[in-house]
């Protein structure tokens, strides 16, 4: 038994080794794959029962907190009341959906969401790339890692903290207004101005996450063979031509992948960030899909209606993710979920 068991366990290695053909023991693993195919379900269960057992707590948590709520979306088709409960609430067919789709508030939320996504794609997305190029050009490794450590830091701050920090700098009583007043000018409160709200939330997003975003680009840059630069330099390519012909092509696939991921995530725009500032700037500028669901559902108790709006968002997002992945394949990239 011991022998067969260890052989069977070894066979699990085969898939692993298959990913790395260069392994010296690859040929040995090849023989064992036959054993794996022969192993019956029951044998494999007996062999792997502790592995399966290990996954169960996580699977149980997901079933309860991710899958049961998926079924809970049935309230989107009901005139749900928390006092009656899901089993007894009357079904109303697609009423909630037709109401949502005819609601100006919903379309305002959709418009705001898409405008914010588009705006941040143009003004936020390139920032980490530029920062990464800048850092990559630094000669001193110590300086580079110090600056990296500083710019990563705000990624670990909560949105409450980030918005508070911005209030202390740009708010009516913040540093900016303070120095304006000190020089005899009118103070200004950027935090409550709906006209500049897009700029405000984009700069908050940049402050918090642009630094963190450079990790991926720095990794891609460090993978570039330095001899390519040298060869290009010897051939007479100046700094800019080297960047154009060596550096940027190295970033291409990362950029495409991240753009596609962002596209799949287009309907989610900083929920906590927006809900924290909704009171200050008003719903007209700050209502997005997630805040719309929260206010109509949890706040106003129109559960079925809010669930319908949330379900529309979830389904459209799913379609966007699948579409985005298709797009990745079209671009010749591996996409987000082709393997594992």
């Amino acid at each position: 038994m011991t022998t067969s068991e260890s052989t069977l366990t070894d066979s699990g290695v085969q898939a692993q080794a298959g990913r790395r053909p260069g392994r010296p023991d690859g040929a040995h693993q090849e023989d064992l794959s036959i054993t794996r195919k022969r192993a019956g379900l029951r044998t494999r269960l007996r062999r792997d029962k502790s592995l399966v057992l290990m996954t169960l707590p996580a699977i149980a948590l997901l079933l309860v907190f991710a899958y049961i709520p998926m079924l809970g979306n049935v309230v989107a088709f009901q005139d749900y009341s928390p006092f009656i409960g899901i089993p007894d609430s009357p079904f109303v067919g697609l009423d909630n959906f037709t109401r949502v789709l005819g609601d100006q508030g919903f379309w305002l939320a959709v418009t705001n969401t898409l405008v914010i996504t588009a705006f941040q794609l143009v003004f936020f997305f390139p920032v980490p790339i530029v920062l990464a190029l800048l850092l990559n050009s630094l000669l001193s490794p110590a300086l580079r890692s110090t600056i990296q450590a500083i710019v990563y830091l705000p990624h670990f701050f909560s949105w409450v903290l980030v918005v508070s920090v911005f209030q202390q700098v740009l708010g009516g009583a913040g540093l900016l207004s303070q120095s304006l007043r000190a020089h005899g000018w009118q103070a200004m409160d950027i935090m409550t101005n709906p006209d500049t709200f897009l700029f405000l939330i984009t700069s908050q997003a940049i402050w918090k996450d642009a630094g963190w975003g450079i990790i991926v680009f720095l990794a891609a840059l460090s993978a570039v063979d330095q001899e390519q630069y040298e060869a290009a330099a010897v051939d007479g390519a100046n700094r800019w031509r080297r960047m154009w012909h060596v550096t940027l092509p190295a970033l291409r696939s990362v950029v495409i992948l991240l753009l596609i991921l962002r596209l799949g995530d287009a309907l989610s725009v900083g929920f906590e960030q927006l809900i924290l500032q909704r009171d200050a700037v008003g719903a007209q500028a700050s209502e997005v899909l997630d805040t719309f669901v929260y206010y109509t559902g949890v706040r106003n108790g129109d559960w079925g209606y809010a669930a319908a709006a949330g379900l529309i968002k979830g389904l459209v997002s799913l379609a966007l993710i699948l579409g985005a992945n298709k797009l990745a394949h079209l671009f010749g990239e591996s996409g987000v979920y082709s393997k594992s």
């Binding site: 692993q16 996580a58 800048l134 009583a173 990790i215 389904l315 799913l318």
Partner: protein, 312 residues
């Protein structure tokens, strides 16, 4: 450029190019370009650290200093710890700190145990039910049920106004499990197989071989979970109605963003700290744990994130 060449050993991350002086073929940049680059980098650093500096300084300033500065303090004046002794004196903020610490510690422990077990259980393709189990995990990354059903579930389970509502719904992140799994899959099979031949159980292999080999990545994932719990704000808004149970982030919002008076703040007179200093002290308390663990883990997380990105 007279840069001192450092020994290769000090350059830790493989992500970094091992270059500390300009290669011979690279031309010296224009002085203006150098100045421009330095200016941008200084601006970036000041934009991150400047506000934090002013917030910490204001929290430590006396009323006289704050008044003469007209609000936020930039130039150090009279230093006072009144604000901290007042908020950490057993009031609302102290309780909120304790709630946040408790939720963060218990939550991170739970998350780590569940995630490490799951990641190891899924680290061997071809094992029993490997594909359906992995699929169950990954599917949740594509479709999320939404806020309303999640809220109805938590209230249906009777978790409203319990600390479990702040832990269980967000206890596992599939992304973190995938990072851990990617790392576990990269561990040399030879070592694990020889332990298995020697009769070690999977539990023993995980605790005595795999985990000691994965200290950096588990530390990073624990940091991700811990920061997540510490920073979580909206789940408390949804699930906690009892203000005595509010975590620090919610208290921070009501005091700093919504301008709610901090109890004791109205009692002007001897020993009363200025209200702006109090607000800033709450901010500092909220950011302090992150600043404390950050340097310990900073050198690891680039590696951790990249392992996930490459292998995931």
């Amino acid at each position: 450029m007279s840069t001192i060449t450092k020994p290769a050993a000090t350059v830790s991350a493989a992500l970094r190019r091992n270059k500390s002086s300009r290669p011979a073929w690279e031309e010296e940049p224009h002085p203006a370009a150098k100045i421009g680059k330095a200016a941008v980098l200084i601006m970036v650093v000041v934009a991150v650290l400047g506000p934090l500096y002013s917030i910490v300084l204001t929290s430590l300033s006396s009323q006289a200093t704050i008044t003469s500065a007209g609000g936020m303090v930039i130039v150090p004046g009279e230093i006072s710890l009144d604000a901290y002794s007042q908020i950490l004196n057993g009031g609302v903020v102290t309780r909120a700190v304790l709630v946040s610490v408790g939720v963060t510690v218990v939550g991170t422990l739970l998350s780590m145990v569940v995630s490490v077990l799951c990641a190891y259980g899924l680290s061997r393709p071809g094992s029993f039910a490997h594909t359906p189990l992995l699929f169950t995990l990954l599917l949740t990354m594509f479709f999320s049920a939404g806020m309303i059903p999640a809220f109805l579930l938590v209230s249906g389970l009777g978790l409203i106004n319990t600390y479990w509502a702040l832990i269980l719904p967000s206890a596992i992140s599939v992304f973190n499990i995938i990072i851990l799994r990617g790392f576990f899959m990269g561990i040399d099979r030879g070592i694990l197989d020889s332990a298995r031949i020697d009769g070690a159980s999977e539990w023993r292999i995980l605790s005595q071989i795999v985990l000691p080999m994965s200290k950096a990545v588990t530390a990073v994932i624990a940091l991700f979970y811990g920061v997540g719990y510490w920073n979580a704000f909206f789940n408390a808004v949804l699930y906690i109605n009892d203000s005595a149970m509010n975590p620090l982030q919610v208290v921070l919002r009501s005091y700093v963003l919504q301008g709610v008076m901090i109890p004791g703040q109205i009692a002007v007179g001897q020993g009363a700290a200025p209200s702006l200093a109090l607000q800033m002290a709450v901010l500092v308390v909220a950011v302090m744990p992150i600043l404390m663990v950050y340097p310990l883990l900073q050198k690891h997380f680039t590696k951790g994130v990249m392992i996930g990105a490459v292998k995931g």
